[in-house]
Symmetry: C2
Subunit: 236 residues, 2 copies
Amino acid sequence: MEAVLTAAVALLDEAGQSALTFRALASRLGTGVGTIYWYVSNKDELFDRATDHAVGGILTAVEELQESDDPIADLRAMAVVLFDAMMDRPWLAAYFMRNTDVQGHSLRLYDKLGRQTLRLDLTPRQRFHAVSAITGVVVGTAADLGAELPQELLDGDVDRVEYLSRYAETWRSLDAADFPFVHEIADEFAEHDDREQFLAALDLTLAGLRLQAGPRAPKDNATKSDPTANGSRPTP
Amino acid sequence: MEAVLTAAVALLDEAGQSALTFRALASRLGTGVGTIYWYVSNKDELFDRATDHAVGGILTAVEELQESDDPIADLRAMAVVLFDAMMDRPWLAAYFMRNTDVQGHSLRLYDKLGRQTLRLDLTPRQRFHAVSAITGVVVGTAADLGAELPQELLDGDVDRVEYLSRYAETWRSLDAADFPFVHEIADEFAEHDDREQFLAALDLTLAGLRLQAGPRAPKDNATKSDPTANGSRPTP
DNA sequence: ACCTGAACACCGTTCAAGT
DNA sequence: ACCTGAACACCGTTCAAGT
């Protein structure tokens, strides 16, 4: 079992999603395809277990983080670790946190994140939504990366900067009156850095969360929280 | 071409991602598989074009929205329209905004969204990041929905509430000391509504954006913006 | 309990051949 | 210019048969 998962992860690392087939996995393990079906009941489960196997490593990295006195800063640090792991392994995003029945490490990681929200002045529902929002930003951005790479880039015919600037070129050539925004950010797009983009999205979410969590200054635990300003908020 | 795309969208609507095959599409159109390859060079492009075809409808819905004096409220309204369309068609999220070469409607929609950020006191880069963050929330949450449905649900063996409460049951049975957060939100999860969860995530992002856009009160255009507090922010 | 691999049904894609 | 469908290489999954 252990061997099956490490081999599966290796295949995914080497050549991405499409490289993980029962046949490829079997031949790497030196066995028949049927063998794998003894450990795993279908391909979805294979992906789930391979993903969780990789999440194991992320979990230990997250557990090594020092807890600060600012829960939101801690959430940020964890999200960054998670995102960086997904940049290394773009295939991770697709199956991350699906089916926690099988994904024990993922559930632990989810709890690790959520525990920080317990330190904030929020309702259970707000906590649930906050963690979902944060994992959503991580997975959403990372899933884009996994899908973003077209053939040309993987084949090495074109490098990333050329690819992006060709896009920007097309965008600049559009009618500025018709596409004012696309025109405005064409240059930004050409030079954009995925990690920076992720951090920007994450920080918007965290800023919103900080606002929601109440008036206490970020790292100031001396001030008692204002009971009139607890987290409850009318549903939009 | 038009007929190919409407047939493709119909297949996707009826039975999801996996139902769109060249053979199924050909037989629905009463032709051979080869015919489709004359209109489209591979399956990715087929998905891209089918997605953009559907986005056409979303675009007109978005264009019918009235512009208010609050750009952030307008962004919110557009995001909600987009999300609702994706709840109707969970297959949309997977290919949305990939390859705007082929997706003319998507590019227009992207510009529509971005135009609202032009009304905010932000740098081009912040505008670019803001729109990416917002579409990320929409697509990220919607992609979850598309993937979330396991076999049991599609087969109708189990309905949604039973499925969720079975999960919650498992979560409650975990050691509360080991999984304090999962324990805390088990009930929330059992009753969670996807749309509400989306709105919560969106509102966190928008709250962050409002903060970033400067000190002006949301709907107050009388106050001159404070030049010392423009949107620039040190990169984290 | 664990392994094997031929067999089945189904893909995307190509291409020589047609109108 | 547009259509056709057999053929190819490759999937996931099953299962009778082995140890």
